[in-house]
Amino acid sequence: MMVRERLRQNISAAFYRHGLLCASYPVPIILFTSASILTCCYPLLKLPLPGTGPVEFTTGVRDYSIPSHESPGDLSERPDWYQGPPVAYIQQVLVKAAVSPWDNSLVPVDVFRSPLGRVFSVLEEIRNHVYTDRSLEALCLQVTDLLPGLRRMQAVLPEHGCLLVSPGNYWQNRRDLFDADPDLLKTVHQHEPKGLHTSATLKDLLFGVPGKQTGVSLYNKKRVVTYTITIALSSYDARFVASLRARLKQLHPSANCTLREDHMVHVHFKEEIGIAELIPLVTTYIILFAYIYFSTRKIDMVKSKWGLALAAVVTVLSSLLMSVGLCTLFGLTPTLNGGEIFPYLVVVIGLENVLVLTKSVVSTPVDLEVKLRIAQGLSNESWSIMKNMATELCIILIGYFTFVPAIQEFCLFAVVGLVSDFFLQMFFFTTVLSIDIRRMELADLNRRLPAEAGMPPPKPGPLRPRETPPPPRPSPHTITLQAPAFRNLRLPKRLRVVYFLARTRLAQRIIMVGTVIWIGILVYTDPAGLRTLLAAQVSEQSPLGEAGLPPHLGVAPVFPGRDPTSTLSVLPAPEPTPLPENQSQGHRAARPEVVPVSSPQITWGPEDEELWRRLSFRHWPALFSYYNITLAKRYISILPVIPVTLHLSPQEAIDTRHPQDTHHAPPPSIKTSDLQADLTLYKVAALGLFAGVVLVLLLFCLYRVLCPRNYGQNGVPHGRRRRGDLPCDEYGYSPPISEISPLLLRGHSMDIECLASDGMLLASCCLARQIRVWDAQTGDCLTVIPNNGPRASWGQTFGNQEEDLLGADFREPGGGAVGRPDVDIFPIRRRTTPARPALFGDQPDLTPLIDTNFGSLPPSQTLSSSGFDFGGLVEKAYQEHETSPTLAFPPSPPASQQRRRSLGDQPVLPPELPPQNNGDWDSSVWAMELRGNLIATGRSSGKLELWDAVEGSLRCSNEDGVSGITALAFLNNRIVAARLNGSLDFFTVEITKPLGLLQYRGPPGRGSLPPSPCYSSEDVISCQLTRSVQCAHQKQITVLKAAAGRVVTGSQDHTVRVYRLEDSCCLFTLQGHSGGITAIYIDQTMVLASGGQDGTICVWDVLTGSRVSHVYGHRGDVTSLVCTTSCIISSGLDDLICIWDRSTGIKLYSIQQEVGCGASLGVISESLLVTGGQGCVSFWDLNYGDLLQTVYLGQSSEGQSVRQLLVLDNAAIVCDFGNELSLVYVPSVLEKLD
């Protein structure tokens, strides 16, 4: 354990130092890394380009000997594969035959019937050739059996004996069958596959020349038939071959033949990748790119997301290149197919570390220096990174000991790749990250300056003058969160470029296009694929004819420069023979006129030397594969062709005619072959296009189905979000674009205690008992209900001083006001922060007031007394400040008497002041509600008052109760007041005149609330106590909520009670909490949730009173509860915000706030959560748990915490902020309010 700890410390210290280094010298380190990447990749230049086409090597025939297995010295000359004997030696006998002179009496069939018929005699000659007791039977490659799947080929391909193919195979090498065949063309073509074919066809195999050049067709203008007899020899006997050549030449001399005969070509075939193999490969690549996409899109909270994603991909890719390069450097040549294992390597190496690094760095506190942030982030993740790497290395090491060569090689690559990836992460990516973070801070600075400059200046007057235009505010439904707000910011050019890149997703598109091109190249280079087809088409359709384009140059990756002779053989022969070229051109030009009399001429040009090059790449592999011989990774040697020229007389042609030949019907179209060629090309193109479109559509559909707008990113992977030290700012970074600017409502002289709103109006009450009414739309102060109206006799000066002193007293949160021994009512869970934790986010903060008096008082006495004795506190404060000479405090006898009583702990408090006509100015407002234009205030003296919000006049008051009203609910025309002694009073507001709408009141906002009655100023309003439930609860009622005709109370006695509003009948008493109730949520849909001091949250069914779910959520009080249709959001004293699934009660995720952050919550829409913090409010995306934005309410955010937060109907929130109110209009891009 000790060793582990020490190791851990050392590792993190080392990472810390490394991070400092990287962040300090970014440019040199990036240069160094790039240099090392290039160095390591340098050996890659020596590797041959990946491709699957065959490669060739040319040697002379004369001094040929079978290459030995152990490679001799001259490695530079011969390729690696040129070892050991070849699979076979291919000897081709190229036969060109023509009937000459051509006779007009001849029919088209005569062009090829008799020339083909001569193949049997030549075959006979070859078979019977014997040179010094060696016959062909002894030398040739003996084949045994065709593959079972090739039944249809059994008739034509040799099944036993020599592998010797010729056109004669169509007729089982029997002349009689040939002669009896009425339709030669049909026999030839019946084996051709229908449709597109990509590999060698049977016709190609048997004729040994490309199908076009055979001349076996009815429209052969040249009237020369070309075919080969292909012999596969298993061993090479130079003398036998030479004698055969001499014999055939002697029998059938070729007049002007200048074919070179001194070179044999060895063709090496690589492992083939057919289309079938390409499909899994493409699949793995698709998966790979999906992986990269899903990984990189997790990068957030950085300056340029795409830049970092690119850096991450570059890191992984270059580490792979480095690993291959290093392995090559140390002599390990990769034998594995690189393209195949590459995706797996990427997946093994992975992008995780990079992402972890990014996340760790961006979650460090922003106020640190960049260097320190990088260093801290690195050292935080050092242990896990090292652990992961060690694990992966171990796994790979285990894989190495399987002793399977392929796995071993893979492991070797993976190890080197992992190490180089680690190196790159540490140097390259960290440095890029540090640059990015630095740029982000610059941009952050840019962002904040205009925001602060744009803050409206504080208004000196209590009332905002009407004529001032309201501050420009974007309409609530059209604001977008991420709107391009760059116009205010003077961004540097490069940043704008980066933004442009990020906006248009250029990097992503480039990558996509690159992928498509790459796949296209893969398909194109596939020997079986498009390329050969296209090459064939091009060579056939080029106007220059065959000689103009040496086809092998464009087709095969040859080894130029290795062997001078090979280049010679590759290029056209040095002595050009212009004659045949001209002749053939001449033929074509003169064709229309002189067709009948043109006599066929047999010419031999250099293009005939290696006619096999024109064949498909799959020609030889296909031929051998029929006999289950694979040419993959092996080679064959092709001997120089033996030219044979046959001239036949017309008479001979006529003699060999089949009786049906003469009345052979001409085929319907004369241009079928050309048309077919064109059609093939178009077919290929159309098919490719179609396949591409289908693929794109399929991917798109899959993407749509798989990812329905949210990507499973909803915070669960990182269950607890750590937040930085800065208040309410996750990762210390909020998006740089801000259109939200809070509207500060100023006027209160002290901290705001109560806040009420009905959507259009806003009422607030401060500690100085001043009530202000604001317009919730514009933020104008409409009415001020002062606290010192009738008490002017008490002295204006005194009143002011009293306010000041009260303020001083209340602003000492750690002072005696809070630290009283009455913790049994509210167990104080104090943090070290100076801010008061708001125990109830939705009702007045009573802590300082409750603490001072009622804790030690028995309820009965509280009942009898007139309520809260505010004067005692004042007196005490004055006594403490008695020495101050500036205080001119006239000691009044009742005051001193009262002080004595309060100090004497057994007070029988008489009403301190005679009840006054309009308002109890001494007792403070503990609860306030606003409906219509009536403000209901509950005072600490137990008095309920109704004020006109517009005129500021007291309309009605009720003094039936004496215990302080702790909570109020105002619904329809009923007011429910919860008192400190646990009783619940139901009042009815009666209006003698019909309701009338006031002009400035808009329509009721949210449909869920019933329209509140509005009262005009002429109405006589009375408020009568209809019912008082004396012992609603055993202890003090802490929460009171009303909705949907129900009143729900929560109390310190651990129970929740549900009352019906109409008849104030108690429906249920809900028991389930083991602590006092601290939070209740009920809404129109009868969802009832309650949270208690025990940290549990219960969801109840209001109709039956049964408990739906019960979850243990917080360590400490649940301070606030809000529900949406799908989830429950709770905040607790443990500074966690938890999001629960409402139906299942499963915690979806939680957000860790910093200590002392406000406990107020509000839900603006289904997916937008707002929380109050220290001097700011934060907006969260509920689906992802992501911080969307943090709005700072003021410049000095120290110590001021948002304790109350109301969500208004018009997508605005209002919150208290010290002695100011903040009206924040929320961009409602996520949901439009209908």
């Binding site: 797996y344 594969s625 289950n628 694979t630 189905v705 499973g712 289904e1166 509920l1182």
Partner: protein, 251 residues
């Protein structure tokens, strides 16, 4: 991916056997297909009655899983076939699409069942799967699964035991890397067992033939493949389920 590879070597079996046993084979196949579809429909009905809102979700998830199963079956089948039929590339596609048309369907159905079972099991056990729940991880998992199949098809091992052990280790590694839940392990084992049993039965009835059977009638690495396939599909299913439970938040 249960029962994906029961046809791995289908191409290698002789055509005569195939034609002879075609009737019984198709019968079994039809029966299993029916069974699977009945199970899925019952599950869907059960869910639909419970939560009518969730049924659409379930259908969608099932459809996605089915498609994934079909695509993976096609691709991996091709991977397995290749080894023997590389020589006839033009015929691979024919054999793939003609002789074994029912295999992708079966695999798709099985994938849907397993992929829906995983989150269901999680739900009933009351331990939601929290480990690495993100699409990147799922993609990684699929890639590793394809890699395991690739290895089983392409690598030349000295003997079968070595191959099987390697693949078993790889499968366990897959589970440990991407799942790590007991329920996932159990369900993967069950899947492997059942699928192997079915494969044995099918081979016993002569529908298939393995080139070198070393575990009764099938290859000994088959359970490993089934196990890792089950884990992979379960991973996808869980991710889909999680995405869908979050979906109402957006609306």
């Amino acid at each position: 991916m249960p029962r994906l590879e029961e046809h791995c070597w289908s191409c290698s079996c002789s055509p005569s056997v195939k034609t002879q046993e075609l009737s019984s084979a198709s019968w079994i196949v039809c029966k299993t297909g029916e069974m699977m579809s009945i199970i899925t429909s019952v599950l869907r009905h059960a869910y639909g009655s419970m939560h009518s809102l969730q049924s659409a979700n379930l259908m969608r998830r099932g459809l996605v899983l089915f498609i994934v199963g079909v695509v993976l079956a096609l691709v991996l089948n091709l991977l397995q076939i290749q080894r023997n039929v590389t020589l006839f590339p033009e015929e691979v596609l024919d054999t793939l699409f003609s002789s074994a048309w029912w295999i992708p369907l079966c695999c798709g159905t099985a994938a849907a069942v397993v992929g829906l079972l995983y989150p269901c099991l999680d739900h009933h056990l009351g331990e939601p799967h929290k480990f690495k729940r993100e699409w990147a991880s799922v993609m990684r998992c699929i890639a590793v699964f394809v890699g395991i199949n690739h290895a089983s098809a392409k690598l030349d091992f000295a003997n079968n035991v070595q191959l099987s052990l390697t693949l078993a280790a790889l499968s366990l590694g897959l589970w440990w890397t991407f799942d790590r839940s007991r329920s996932g392990f159990g369900l993967g084992l069950t899947t492997a067992f059942l699928a192997t049993l079915i494969a044995q039965l099918l081979v016993y009835n002569g529908i298939y033939q393995y080139t070198s059977p070393d575990f009764l009638y099938v290859r000994s690495w088959l359970p490993c493949i089934f196990f890792s396939g089950g884990v992979t599909v379960g991973n996808i299913g869980r991710q889909l389920a999680m995405g869908s439970t979050e979906k109402p938040h957006n609306d």
